[in-house]
């Protein structure tokens, strides 16, 4: 009996240790950044494709005000209310003191500079597929935007979700770098995949989530209930969205649907970003969407 207890205690310690190791925040190896160069023009494109301002500008900011990334927008979820933090270039209130490595850890692993896990309201599960060139370029571009000295508000999250360590387990399950749509893609489709799956984080709204808030990758872009409770976020797969590629590209540019209604709701915010992309990038998104089909995520046969 005593032997059994000792064994059981040993197992508990081992499992606990494994848990501690497995839920430890992950980081980028600094050596990977050695040959990475930043480019401001590229960084600006990443900024718009990534939609940073849609969450991190002040609530209701428009025009130039959207470049002041002071945070403050509230996102109500089943797990609590998340409040977008200040990511302006202010060295105290914002992230002006961050290195490229700090930004890479945040975007690719959801890990903060002090080693804390970020909540996945910040879509690092998508950004995890960003290239380091894009991270470094975005870092340079963010540095050119105004510094705003407004303190970030704490998230309003109750037990047990306020224990950030638990997010390590969540990440083990749902932070899966790698593409969802695989196969023989054209260069244009592959560019579209990068824009949709990584930077644009389209799936964060257009893919349904399970009870733990993880994306159901087998229902990729299949449409999802609207978290606001009203209506449904439409599916984007080729069998659901019957718009032509030119229709999709024009919608992402001017906001006009094929019926010449204008974009509404959250998509109006998205189009403020996609209107800043190049025609080639908007057409690449359209080409990728035409390649995604359900029920199983597979390439649409030619």
């Amino acid at each position: 009996m005593r032997r059994f207890l000792r064994l059981a205690a040993g197992v508990v310690v081992l499992v606990g240790l494994a848990g501690v190791l497995l839920t430890r925040p992950q980081r980028v190896d600094p050596a990977q950044l050695n040959d990475v160069t930043a480019d401001l023009v590229r960084g600006e494109a990443v900024f718009f494709a990534g939609g940073c301002a849609s969450c991190h500008s002040r609530p209701d900011a428009t025009g130039e005000e959207k470049l002041k990334l002071a945070g403050g927008r509230r996102f109500e979820t089943d797990f609590g209310t998340f409040i977008a933090p200040n990511i302006s270039s202010d060295r105290e209130a914002g992230i002006g003191s961050w290195s490229v490595l700090d930004l890479a850890n945040a975007l690719l692993h959801g890990t903060g500079p002090e080693g804390q896990h970020y909540y996945p309201a910040f879509p690092y599960t998508s950004y995890a597929n960003m290239t380091l060139e894009d991270v470094a370029s975005l870092h340079a571009f963010l540095g050119t935007l105004p510094a705003v000295a407004v303190e970030s508000d704490a998230h309003e999250v109750g037990f047990p979700f306020n224990i950030r360590r638990g997010l390590g387990g969540w990440k083990l399950l749902y932070l899966q770098p790698g593409w969802v749509v695989e196969g023989d893609l054209t260069d244009q489709q592959a560019r579209g995949r990068y824009l949709v799956e990584a930077l644009g984080h389209c799936a964060e709204c257009h893919t349904p989530r399970n009870a733990f808030g993880g994306l159901q990758r087998d229902l990729w872009l299949a449409g999802a209930p609207n978290p606001s409770g009203k209506g449904r976020i439409p599916g984007l797969t080729a069998d659901q969205l019957d718009w032509s590629e030119a229709d999709i590209a024009e919608y992402l540019r001017s906001g006009f649907t094929p019926d010449y209604d204008s974009a509404g709701g959250e998509m109006a915010e998205v189009i403020e970003n996609t209107s800043q992309l190049t025609d080639d990038d908007r057409l690449a998104i359209a080409a990728y969407l035409k390649a995604v089909s359900l029920p199983s995520v597979a390439l649409v046969p030619e």
């Binding site: 009203k230 024009e250 001017s254 906001g255 010449y260 509404g264």
Partner: protein, 155 residues
Amino acid sequence: MMKKITIVAAGLLSVAAIGTAIAQESQNPAVKARTSIMKLYAFNLETLGGMIKGEVEYDAEAATRAANNIVVLTQIDQSAMWPAGSDNASDPATRALPAIWENFPDVGAKGQAMADAAVAMQAAAGQDVEAVKAAMGQLGGACTACHKAYRAPEN
């Protein structure tokens, strides 16, 4: 017996059909009028959009006619088309938010931005498709700005 069920079912169906019809179209003439203006915008925008997408060949005259119509639409005096009680809280057939009636100066400013964008399109329409494309972006921005602030999401 079967006949009775059929009649009842048909009756229920027609009630449902009427219900749907009411939900889709307002009986308020003011709402009908302003919805008609939106349809006229869409019709003319489609001419321009088709050229941008390459569905039809760019035609300076057709583009100019469409742009002229859009300018005319921005000049219609709509003040009688937005009476009190024609918001989506009072009339389920409209998506117009009550905020419109609380923010007339801002609604007016957004309307002016639309009028400016229409004039810019008028100047662009006769040039080339690239100019039309740029002006279309400005028009889209003007439409969206007002819809984002003052129109309820689609159900």
